[in-house]
Point group: C3
């Protein structure tokens, strides 16, 4: 199986699929092609949250704000999964998550990520790296087999620690106060912060202030009237700032990367 | 074959597909992931109009305005098809349509729909029901076989009549007047009403009034100038209020659920 | 393999896929369903740029501004590829490109395109040609085999030269001046002209004027600051007018079909 995620919109991914299917009979599954374009953080978040649900596969994942500049093409192998894409950090959080899922919780998950660089020549400004470099590489990895990546021409092992890294920021929780950040806004306008859900899952927490504005803490959107804001724990395990049948990003005035301060209130 | 329709946008459906493909080798076909979000009616319409074109399959169809609240997960079996989703009525019209297609026109099509409930535990507020309940259930139904749904653990038969139902409204036609409703607006702005096409297919009908405004009745958009309105019979068999190379919803000021009164005019 | 490209949006393509999968077990690959709707030129461009990357396949490609009017349904065979769609010219440029790829550069590529017409009856205004005519035809071509199209009922050979043609316009280059046209704007706002990349790839070309406005010529977006315009050679081999992390169409005020005059400047 070969999954394919990108920020390519439409119809560019089809050319990549054509190239891939010219090299392999693998089942190809589209993940999404509207990943955040200018944000390694947003792309890294979605890849980490989605790809681990797949069975062992080669994951072609190309989010590339620096397209056209010099950056290596890499393969990260974790257990029976391989990730193929540019060396810009977007693949690192999902690689670590895959270590947790495949190997177990580890202090240094990066030690369980095997890394390779793919040599490529880039003579022309007309190169579309997804189509001309990453797609073929992913197909070749699939054909060689995830455990034989090293046998491919133009592929050589590198130190994982020497690759570009990206770490999703963590929130600071002190007593009833959490200082965090907006990781992403999903396409329904839900504001996904990096404050762990446990912050509001404590018994007795009935409301939080979001940058000073008080909203109820609920288990479901339907608990508030349409158009009304709420805080809830989303499916990613983080606190989300949402609006029932509306857009949380607009109601709260929050965008990806914004700092957010939450204060929890208990029902005494 | 397993089809998958939802209101999940992007990239949430990919996590569901990952879960499904971890449990079955079935061919998975995306139907659409932009079904109307807050409208059982709109979702029910599209599912009914699209799914019957597929060969026998397990249809995972999750449109879920009440996500997070208590509602059962159900399987509806009709002939060689199975529908899997929340018990909110959205699956009922397509189930009846499948009866017509698989069994034949019947006075009580619901009698030919076999229903099952899927028990699930929902301990955490972080549950994403599509990924954690409905996706696995659809994969399991596929693996068990549509005719052996009842053999699955956590699945038990229920009375179809006890499930939530939703009936698409029907229009009232009296002489040259039809009182109906807008069922959906498609993503090109075509306004699909529930007035049967036969209302304007009669020989000699050259125009209709739509809430009093007179527009020509045509067989194709191209019969009127770009930007001009028309009424036509769409591919669903209903009267549509459209604009050639434009948006009917804006020109007619009509939205899903709006009442609409048509008066037909004959060329004498 | 059967690829499927259209301007049908969502969820209409799913009904077509259902029909296709009822007739063939072929692998079905979505190309795009948001091809330009009212523009044969735009659709012809994307089909030509994308489909040749696929391995031999039946390509169902329905872009149909004249839907509902009389136009033939055609199959174009080029080597091991077959193209199925309406006879409106949109398939002709990709057919010629496939000749170049499959047969080689030829003075008269159309001579290497074998054409067939598909007879269909269209009794009802409720016909959705993608679902009711082109989809079934593509599936049948796949089942018959690309080299046995002529054996199908309702299919008869026609002269390629008698079909509707569409030729993508070519730019006129005179010295340091190119007069061209905007072919398409991609969904990131990049303005793709028909001026060949060679116009600015010459050593020493550091800037072009676009309708009089001077912008730098760069190999990558990242060479200019975010929000700044540039000219570059895109992956299609044409000059594009783009903005780093922004929309070129808005910055340059250019739309598909607009005439554009480029003047190149050399660094002496």
């Amino acid at each position: 199986m070969l999954t394919f995620a990108s920020d390519f919109g439409s119809p560019y991914p089809a050319a990549v699929k054509g190239v891939v299917l010219s090299r392999t009979d693998a089942r190809v599954v589209d993940v999404a092609h509207d990943l955040p374009r200018q944000s390694i953080r947003g792309a890294a978040f979605w890849l980490r949250e989605v790809l681990p649900y797949f069975p062992p596969a080669v994951h072609l994942a190309v989010v590339d704000p620096d397209v056209g500049t010099e950056r290596a093409a890499v393969v990260l192998r974790v257990g029976d999964h391989a990730l193929v894409g540019p060396d810009n950090g977007a693949l690192r959080p999902v690689a670590r998550r895959l270590v947790t899922e495949q190997v177990g919780e580890r202090d240094d998950p990066d030690a369980f990520v095997e890394a390779f660089e793919i040599d490529y020549v880039d003579p022309a400004s007309t190169t579309f790296h997804g189509r001309d470099v990453f797609g073929p590489a992913a197909a070749d990895v699939h054909e060689a087999g995830v455990h034989d990546v090293g046998s491919l021409d133009r592929v050589h092992p590198v130190e994982t620690g020497n690759l570009v890294d990206h770490r999703l920021p963590t929130a600071a929780v002190t007593g009833d106060r959490a200082e965090g950040e907006v990781l992403v806004v999903d396409d329904f306008g839900n504001v996904i912060t990096n404050v762990p859900g446990s912050f509001i899952e404590d018994a007795g927490v009935t409301a939080v202030t979001v940058d000073g504005e008080r909203v109820p803490v609920e288990r479901s959107f339907a608990a508030v009237e349409p158009g009304e804001p709420l805080a809830t724990v989303g499916s990613h395990g983080y606190v989300e700032c949402d609006v029932n049948q509306g857009r949380g990003d607009e109601a709260f005035g929050l965008s990806p990367g914004d700092r957010v301060v939450l204060g929890r209130e208990r029902d005494d």
